[in-house]
Symmetry: C2
Subunit: 198 residues, 2 copies
DNA sequence: GCCTCAGGTTAATCGCCGTTCACACTGGAC
DNA sequence: GTCCAGTGTGAACGGCGATTAACCTGAGGC
């Protein structure tokens, strides 16, 4: 139904391998219905093959989900640290860089955003631990910046603030498409900045 | 494990019937693992009975989830309209009333908040439609207030803004417990007001 | 012209889990 | 005391869905 094609998954966006096609289709389906409600046959059908063909490319359905979530977390962490580094020394500028990065990511990859916080629990302990560790490092990036903007606040409060900002920005998938992308980006960034500095 | 006892489910909080116990336990489990990952036996075990005993109180596992989500939506809608009505004519006061109501609800019922937006898709079409309709009416309550505060903004933009505020406030379950309840309530309300008025 | 191998296919297998069944055990109502 | 409604229990049943097995094909390399 959706023509949405979350961009953060492809190595080679132009000519995606079958493996990449599967990951993208799976992300879309997982986001719509939840990973446990999506059958291996559904994923196969979405790329024009039968269910078991998946196993030529992934060890298991869980492995697909794991790879998906690991890539997202890595991409967020890498992008976040990069943007902060490029933003100079001003905490407000750093915050703005993080906000704009997260807004762009959420608008570009609504399905991945949805899957990430809905299906973390479906991973094996081992995979989940690894994803959570990457997520934690990304959060700490935000916490460090927020701490400089609110010197009086505890670390725990800054962490809560960071999570609240993620919730705000990641609300995108819920208010799907009725507002044009640039306007939406502006609105979310503005709200996030106001909330962050309040 | 958790001593959390979401309060919005009981009619008689003091001496809950077996039926209510089941709903509470199920909400907790569903929030932790997702409704599809929780077995009927798990729910039974959580209240000290075997799985099939559930069927003395609910027609099916889906019926449990449906009742849970319907109650939440009804409670939110009722609470929201009531608070707005009691807040007088000032849009800012009305907004503050809504924000404080939502913050209290989210802090009191983290499990329900989680289940509500994670497991809506597991409902039958009929039930899902009904829940969505209640949710929509609650959202419109917010949209009406936001529209008066931003007369220049489109309805769609106000709706996006409302969803963003829900995302912010409902982030509570993700930053579980490290900040004391009153401080958390203050922080979330402050951030939400700033974001709403930005 | 063969051999290999990547990538598919269809037809089992197999375990899990929602649900139903047939049979107790209560504890009031009368 | 009897009876019945309400609750539970353990043992099937049945379907669904992930995985595996066995077999096929077509494109290169040699």
């Amino acid at each position: 139904m959706t023509s949405q094609q979350d961009s953060a998954l492809h190595s080679d966006a132009a000519n995606p391998s079958r493996r990449e096609q599967i990951l993208r289709a799976a992300a879309q389906l997982f986001a719509e219905r939840g990973s446990r409600a999506v059958g291996v046959d559904d994923v196969g059908a979405a790329v024009g093959v039968t269910g078991p063909a998946i196993y030529r490319h992934f060890a298991s359905k869980d492995a697909m989900l794991a790879e998906m979530l690991l890539r997202i977390s890595e991409r967020l962490l890498a992008g976040g640290t990069e943007r902060v580094a490029a933003a100079g020394a001003s905490p407000v500028d750093q915050l703005r860089a993080l906000v704009e990065f997260q807004v762009d990511f959420a608008l570009d990859n609504p399905a991945l955003i949805t899957v990430q916080d809905r299906d973390l629990g479906a991973l094996t302990d081992r995979d989940a631990r690894q994803v959570r560790q990457l997520q934690r490092r990304y959060v700490e990036e935000w916490v460090a910046v927020l701490a400089r903007l609110h010197p009086e606040a505890s670390t725990a409060a800054c962490r809560a603030r960071a999570h609240a900002l993620f919730g705000l920005i990641n609300s995108t998938p819920h208010s799907a498409g009725r507002v044009a992308r640039p306007a939406m980006a502006g609105l979310l960034a503005e709200m996030a900045m106001a909330a962050a500095l309040a």
